[in-house]
């Protein structure tokens, strides 16, 4: 049986479920894959797919973005960042704008590249902007260990890392958000394993399925969720077995624990969540850019008219935002969900279903 026939069968199976359910895809990569393949339009209307807070760029708080912009203006600083952050609007500027005004901002694909820049520029201060979930944090931990080993003194990390499970807990406990089941992120789960979802599933009685990113994976994941719901069950399960193991990646987890400790972090849309961020343990504090440059915590100033917060929690769909496609487009983004490659607004904008055109 080829993929196409199999997909048709999966779709038919999904269409046979008649109850009203809301499923949330947590991860931005899922949001993109769902929009690109058109799954949202092909599943029946009683199965609602919500997009969740799984885009690391999008959930970075406005105050934290403003702090980065402040830092990159300091003389002597080289700010290294993933490309996705360049166009994210702060309150009054973006990294892209700052670069055009002379700030030294370099797009890298790995923190190890940033470390190399630090080695080559001993007279400058190189700051790596750490944005991401449990997936990106281990490579950053590796670069920090290396910096310590080589005694590279001009390298530091601005850690805005976030942990996924505490955010899911907030979503499940919010009475305004109806989520009956979670399509859980594939890559993050490859690190953290199934345990966090087992706890969530048991506590809130909602099924969670760790799912891969191909169209077939997502359809299978949806079926696994629907199946549990129709049986009245709420377990954590893995669809993405070719990559994710129940125990996750203990080596990566141990590495994270050695370097970082959980702390409260500010999320766009969800606010401050205890234990949802990663700060450097005291042995590594000398690599903490916030401490090194005495960066103040900047208040979150809401962007006028921007509903990214509601979009990130699944309270509204991107198209329900008044700015969507009018005041806010990928070329002139108002909020991060329209900028990031993983942002729900960007996904809905780029992959518009034919019937939605106007």
């Amino acid at each position: 049986m080829n993929d196409k026939t199999y997909m048709k069968e999966l779709l038919q199976e999904i269409q046979s479920y008649k109850q009203e359910v809301s499923l949330m895809e947590v991860c931005g990569t899922h949001t993109m894959a769902i929009a690109r393949s058109g799954i949202r339009e092909m599943v029946p209307a009683n199965i609602k797919l919500l997009s969740g807070p799984g885009c690391p760029v999008c959930v970075t708080s406005q105050g934290d973005i403003d702090a980065v912009i402040k830092l990159c203006r300091e003389p002597g600083i080289i700010l290294c960042t993933f490309g996705d952050m360049m166009r994210v609007p702060g309150s009054e500027s973006s990294l892209q704008e700052e670069r055009s005004r002379g700030a030294d901002i370099r797009v890298v694909y790995s923190p190890l590249d940033a470390l190399e820049i630090a080695r080559k520029n001993p007279e400058r201060e190189v700051v790596f902007l750490g944005i991401g979930f449990e997936t990106t944090a281990p490579t950053i931990a590796v670069s920090l260990e290396q910096a310590e080993r080589e005694r590279i003194n001009n390298f530091s990390l601005l850690s805005y890392h976030k942990l996924v499970p505490p955010a899911l807990e907030v979503i499940f406990s919010d009475p305004d958000i109806r989520v009956d089941g979670l399509i859980c992120p594939g890559h993050v789960s490859a690190v953290i394993g199934l345990k966090p979802y087992e706890l969530l599933a048991a506590k809130y009685h909602k099924p969670c399925v760790v799912t891969g990113f191909e169209t077939v994976d997502i359809l299978e994941g949806i079926i696994m969720l629907l199946h549990q719901m129709s049986q009245g069950e709420a377990r954590a399960d893995i669809q993405y077995r070719r990559v994710v193991r129940k125990e996750g990646n203990p080596v990566a987890v141990e590495l994270l624990e050695r370097i970082f400790q959980p702390e409260e972090a500010r999320w766009r849309g969800l606010g401050p969540i205890p234990g949802s961020g990663l700060k450097l343990r005291s042995a590594y504090e000398f690599l903490d850019a916030a401490k090194k440059f005495q960066l103040p915590q900047i208040a979150d100033l809401p962007i006028k008219g921007c509903s990214c917060g509601e979009v990130l929690t699944g309270k509204i769909s991107p198209r329900e935002c008044l700015l969507f496609g009018r005041g806010c487009t990928p070329l002139k983004p108002v909020g991060p969900c329209m900028v990031s490659h993983e942002g729900a607004c960007a996904a809905y904008y780029r992959y518009t279903p034919a019937k939605e055109r106007n």
Binding site: L11, T29, S37, T215, V339, H341, T352
Partner: protein, 336 residues
């Protein structure tokens, strides 16, 4: 040559400049138009409408799997001429070189330009070299301008596109964009991906025999297939509908794009054409295209419709229909 790097003095216009021209460019590009060393080239053009096009090439790294900036600078301009329906004839080039570029790199680039021009049947007839201070350029920037002539009865402007026409691509999409990104970022894949960088004049030769049955042609370079299809839809005022699974994509490119969160339909190609054909002889034309190695994987990927005017639709593998939009901003890999 004893000096192993390009110096500012090489751009001074004096003796060192002359040496550079004599020992590298004249030697490699040698032809009767260049030989007299006049301020410009005197050209005799065959009858027909003359097409002129220009392009500048800035790329990191200068050497990449499947090509280099020299080859690219010839292919890019030759392919623009071919896309206009012209037989490429003459090229000019201007090189802006950063002080300190290894002389061996410059020689290799000049040789690559000469070889590619020979393959493409064009001659480099005039050129200019400037050297700028270190930090003012990135190794070398190359501009090429090309002149070609269109044969009687050939017109590939998008206004000729009609509902019912078929849309063809001459091969796999996204190879160049991915090869460059992989090289630039030090990503390695189990199956290496080469840039598809190639001169496409033979596609032009094959199509010429079919006259008006070929409606339009364009090369999907920056912005990739999706961008070119949108340009064609908008400029022709027609709708275009393509089928995702009919679009050829090298499996290694598809796999890498999945991993990076990139879309091969938005990635650059440097050796491919998008061709719109009248339906009557499309099968025959496709078969002829597939006989040449650079278009062996040519495939029909969709059709032109009256509606929705100016838009491109794509049918996904799941059977959903969505708008295939134009790329907004940069196409960058995702974080997690």
């Amino acid at each position: 040559m004893k000096i192993d790097r390009v110096l500012l003095a090489h751009g001074s216009g004096g003796l060192m400049s002359q040496q550079l021209v004599e020992e590298i460019f004249k030697k490699e590009w040698n032809n009767s138009y260049l030989e007299p060393m006049l301020d410009g080239a005197l050209l005799d053009l065959p009858a027909g409408r003359v097409v002129m096009t220009t392009d500048s090439f800035v790329i990191t790294p200068l050497f990449f799997p499947g090509g280099d900036i020299g080859k690219l600078s010839i292919c890019g301009t030759v392919n623009d001429l071919v896309a206009c329906g012209a037989k490429p004839l003459f090229l000019s080039t201007a090189l802006i070189i950063e002080e300190g570029l290894p002389m061996s790199d410059l020689i290799q680039i000049a040789q690559s330009m000469a070889r590619t021009a020979r393959e493409a049947g064009v001659q480099l007839v005039t050129g200019d070299t400037k050297v700028v201070e270190k930090g003012s350029a990135d190794g070398i920037f190359i501009n090429t301008t090309g002149i070609g002539v269109i044969a009687e009865g050939i017109d590939y402007r998008p206004q000729r596109i009609q509902p019912g026409d078929l849309v063809v691509v001459s091969g796999t999409m996204g190879d160049h964009g991915l090869a460059i990104m992989a090289r630039r970022e030090g990503l390695s894949f189990s199956t290496p991906v080469n840039s598809d960088c190639a001169p496409l004049f033979r596609i032009g030769q094959v199509l010429e025999a079919f006259g008006g049955n070929v409606r339009c042609m364009r090369d999907p370079t920056r912005g990739g297939l999706a961008t070119v299809l949108n340009e064609l839809a908008r400029q022709s005022g027609r709708g275009i509908k393509v089928v995702e699974e009919d679009i050829p994509v090298n499996p290694a490119v598809a796999g890498a794009c999945d991993m990076l969160g990139m879309d091969p339909l938005y990635m650059a190609n440097e050796g491919k054409m998008v061709i719109v054909l009248a339906p009557e002889r499309a099968a025959e034309i496709l078969a002829e295209l597939q006989k040449i190695d650079i278009a062996a994987e040519a495939a029909i990927i969709g059709e032109v419709r009256a509606e929705p005017a100016g838009l491109v639709l794509i049918e996904t593998e799941l059977g959903a229909e969505r708008i295939l939009g134009i790329l907004e901003g940069e196409h960058v890999p995702r974080i997690c």
